[in-house]
């Protein structure tokens, strides 16, 4: 590996430094993202709560808008973190070790933002507990036949699983940081590390618990985005009522999530000074994964168009025609350019190992993927069976602001995370380094190999 020259203690130093030493740029970025969150997310949301859901551009027949597009986007972005980390853990991929922690954090915070988007979308978030099955004075129970209830169960499970997965993996690192910090940080890490010592028994238990969690989380992550797709596919709306939707969403989710990881890795590498931990190797591997996902995604898009055309049903034709050449047509072609054409550059190894081009591509892919989610809601509902039920949807200012604000919220959460959680896994990076050998001794016994 390219990290051969690093000593164990240097890894500790680097990570503790990333937690304790905070530059001015960090505070400025944090302040800006908090400001954006309040100005663009909570402000407009408060306005919408005060004046009613009419503040958003959603109306009959397009009762889903950018809130749901953002919801799918954030759930999608969440996918590669925990999923990728779990799959790579089960397949013993060494290169996962320097990057999985921040990928998992990305998962966690995107799921949180996604859950908040649902609150925004439902209009009356103070009734959201009605979706939870608990005995109540109305003697009413949620309808478990509804895909919306599948969502509630899946996302709750996913959020719980992701929190536990990232926390369990960090316990040894909390312990390592605990020994090196003072003051309130020390107290916090004492609590978070739960008294971890790193005994052989503890490592053994952690290994098995972590492996079982990984085994449980892989099918969970696949189910979550399948279920999100069924919110759409189980309706009878043309262009949504398709069996390909579940794999389409899962592939799209992993695709945008991997692109998200590339973006986050770039930022961590550059601004947390992890140049020697996050290397070209990681970008190369992530690039290959992105390329595969992009090809899969393109294939599924082609299948979607083909089955629509092959169905010979007029409403399907209309919906697809509207998507490709209607009002939002240019957005469709932008999506194809960003998500299907541009990623072909990844065939070149030189491109995959160049940091800035990878950053630009990863952002472009996510812009394309957001567009995809927007098109799914904004081009299918306006064209349903009867032309007199057609109608257009334009996002209102409140919706656009909340969409921007959701990025601010994600950034804020992530910035807080990098100062509390060691953003690179200490012990697993050490595992990738050559094992320390005993120093040569003058004593007669053997042992120095």
């Amino acid at each position: 590996m390219s990290q051969r020259e690093i000593a164990y203690s240097e890894v500790n130093d680097d990570i503790v430094r990333s937690l304790v030493v905070t530059g001015r740029n960090y505070y400025i970025t944090l302040a800006v993202s908090i400001l954006v969150t309040f100005a663009c997310f909570f402000g407009p949301w408060f306005y919408q709560i005060q004046y009613g859901i009419g503040a958003a551009g959603m109306n009959h027949p397009t009762v889903w808008g950018t809130y749901l597009a953002s919801f799918i986007f954030w759930i999608g972005l969440s996918h590669s973190g925990t999923l990728l980390s779990a799959v790579l853990h089960l397949t013993n991929s060494e290169w996962r070790k320097a990057m999985y922690r921040s990928a998992e954090a990305m998962t966690l915070f995107s799921v949180m933002v996604a859950a908040t988007m649902v609150m925004v979308h439902v209009g009356r978030p103070w009734f959201v507990h009605w979706a939870v099955p608990y005995p109540n004075q109305m003697e009413m129970w949620p309808n478990f036949r509804s895909p919306l209830m599948f969502d509630v169960m899946a996302i709750t499970t996913y959020m719980t699983g992701s929190i536990i997965f990232i926390y369990m993996g960090t316990i040894p690192d909390f312990a390592a940081v605990r020994d090196r910090t003072t003051g309130w940080r020390h107290h916090m890490y004492v609590l978070l590390s739960l008294g971890w010592r790193g005994t052989d028994t503890e490592w053994h238990r952690l290994h098995w618990a972590y492996t079982f969690l990984a085994v449980l989380i892989v099918p969970l992550a696949v189910s979550v985005h399948s279920i999100v797709s069924w919110d759409f596919a189980l309706s009878i709306v043309p262009a949504l009522h398709q069996t390909i939707f579940a794999p389409y969403f899962v592939v799209g989710a992993i695709y945008s999530g991997t692109a998200g990881i590339v973006t986050v890795m770039f930022v961590l590498r550059k601004y947390m000074k992890f140049e020697h931990l996050i290397t070209k190797l990681h970008f190369d591997n992530l690039g290959k994964l992105l390329l595969v996902m992009s090809l899969l995604w393109t294939y599924i898009n082609a299948v979607e168009l083909f089955t629509g055309w092959y169905s010979e049903s007029s409403e399907e034709y209309e919906a697809l025609g509207f998507r490709l050449f209607g009002f939002y047509g240019p957005l469709y072609w932008e999506m194809i350019l960003f998500c299907a054409v541009a990623p072909l550059l990844l065939i070149s190894k030189r491109f995959r190992t160049s940091f800035v081009p990878m950053l630009i591509l990863s952002i472009a892919i996510n812009i394309g993927m957001y567009t995809e989610r927007f098109l799914i809601v904004a081009t299918s509902l306006p064209r349903q069976y009867l032309p007199d039920a057609w109608g257009m949807y334009y996002p209102s200012l409140v919706e656009i602001l909340i969409m921007i604000g959701s990025f601010g919220m994600f950034t804020t959460l992530f910035l807080i995370f990098v100062k509390i959680f060691p953003s690179v896994s200490l012990y697993e990076v050490k595992e990738t380094l050559p094992e320390p050998q005993p120093k040569l001794r003058t004593q007669s016994e053997s042992g120095a190999s």
Binding site: Y8, S9, N12, P133, E139, M140, W141, N143, F144, R145, S146, M149, F150, M153, A154, T156, T157, T160, G161, I164, M168, I171, P172, A175, A176, D179, L194, G195, W196, R197, G198, T199, D200, T201, E202, W203, H204, R205, L206, W208, A209, F212, L213, L216, I217, L220, S223, I227, L426, Y427, K430, E431, E435, P436, P438, K439, Q443, E445, G447, S449
Partner: protein, 170 residues
């Protein structure tokens, strides 16, 4: 009161060797504290039982049964027929079952991990902070000073950089 001998090593291989010798000399349950999981511990200190898998299995089983019971039970409690579909509809309820299987499996795995690794620790235990950075510690509980002397000797012969005497856990 028991005392603990703790030897610090700079390489996992020497720590393993020391732990093996301590075990061979009749010391009960020597422990290795290390910054990374060491390969080959089981060969030296014996195979460890893995009880977490039981937690995972029964947790998941409970979740599966509970999940279906939740969906079917509440549907029966408040019968609301829509579109002529059955009250207890198998395909959608299997999704709820699936999710709760995983949820309870995860929670039980965590419970199993905490119980079997005795975390969170409520009192101080033998520990060397260096073993979270780049040292490998071998600790063993000694009943008296004579035993401690023997442990000290074994650790020293195995090449310990430093040997500490620590108060034992009551």
């Amino acid at each position: 009161m028991a005392i603990n001998a703790l030897g610090l090593f700079d390489a996992p291989s020497s720590a393993l060797e020391a732990a093996g010798e301590l075990k061979g000399a009749g010391f009960e349950a020597p422990e290795i504290i290390s910054p990374i999981p060491i390969h080959g511990v089981e060969k030296v200190l014996g195979k460890k039982k893995n009880i977490i898998k039981r937690f995972t299995f029964f947790g998941a089983l409970f979740g599966g049964i509970g999940g279906f019971a939740l969906a079917a039970g509440t549907a029966v409690l408040y019968v609301h027929v829509t579109g002529g579909r059955p009250v207890i509809a198998i395909p959608p309820f299997l999704i709820i079952t699936y999710e709760l299987t995983i949820l309870c499996g995860i929670l039980a795995t965590v419970a199993g991990f905490f119980l079997s690794s005795r975390l969170p620790a409520m009192r101080d235990r033998v520990y060397a902070p260096e073993a979270a950075v780049d040292k490998f510690a071998v600790t063993v509980e000694c009943e008296d000073s004579e035993q401690f002397r023997r442990a000290h000797e074994i650790l020293q012969n195995a090449g310990a950089e430093e040997i500490r005497e620590l108060g034992g856990s009551e």
